[in-house]
Subunit: 149 residues, 2 copies
């Protein structure tokens, strides 16, 4: 059994969580609680991204109110996060690792391979108006929200 | 986009749900709501099973109060369900397909391959006392609960 552990990427509110893994002759198992320290919101939706044909960048947006938690359940995916001031990256290459993205963090994923499957738990139902899709707009909104906080 | 659809296996309370799939040049995406028609409970926990070295049977238990929803997010897995009177099987071979197991349904999984990853959403935190691990005991408890219902 590996112990759970958290690390920070120096990006506002983001954390990377290692979940316990139980390995025996029958195979491996990992688990997490909802909500919990790792996933600090009640998930209202999940989605999965797979069969991504290129290693180019996906995602590239921020959410205004939606919290997300990302786990790469097969293959591997690089996740980049950016709060407008600091940027960090983490390689997700095991189901025992996940990244929490609070609202107002710019997120992108890249280096999908053929086996890669990204599982995302989200705090809200799908709402196209919750997306900030232009980085310049994100910087302006991030600056406005941090100066009003 | 494929439309969501539900099918029944003739086993008490069990349903198989097909989720919508959105395919474009950037890859594929599938999603579901929590709770929703497919997952009729609030998940308090997830776990994943992977690196299963044999194609033999895993699972083989029932829960007294815990509801579960199973998705094979990579590879393929056969899921068998049994309410004490009727038995059904379903092949999970895509992230767009899931099976709901209410309490007091005997469940087992088999034919894992090297790529197979099973994701389970559960309505309760882990409790070893909630497991019925002997099939004979399950039959007796299932009979008692159906005759008292």
């Amino acid at each position: 059994v590996t112990e759970p552990a958290r690390s920070l990427l120096g990006v506002s509110g983001v954390h990377v969580q290692r979940f316990p893994e139980f390995v025996d002759l029958r195979g491996s198992l990992t688990s997490g609680e909802l909500p919990g320290d790792a996933v600090p919101f009640v998930p209202r939706r999940w989605f999965m991204v797979y069969d991504v044909p290129s290693r180019e960048v996906r995602g590239e947006h921020a959410h205004r109110i939606c919290h997300q938690f990302l786990i790469c359940v097969s293959g591997q995916i690089m996740v980049a996060v950016d709060d407008g001031h600091h940027r960090g990256e983490v390689l997700l290459d095991t189901p025992t690792l996940g990244v929490y993205l609070p609202p107002m963090v710019w997120g992108s994923q890249f280096r999908y391979d053929q086996e890669s499957v990204l599982l995302v738990l989200a705090s809200h139902l799908y709402d196209p108006d919750d997306y900030i899709r232009e980085y310049e707009s994100f910087l302006i909104e991030a600056e406005a929200s941090s100066s009003s906080a």
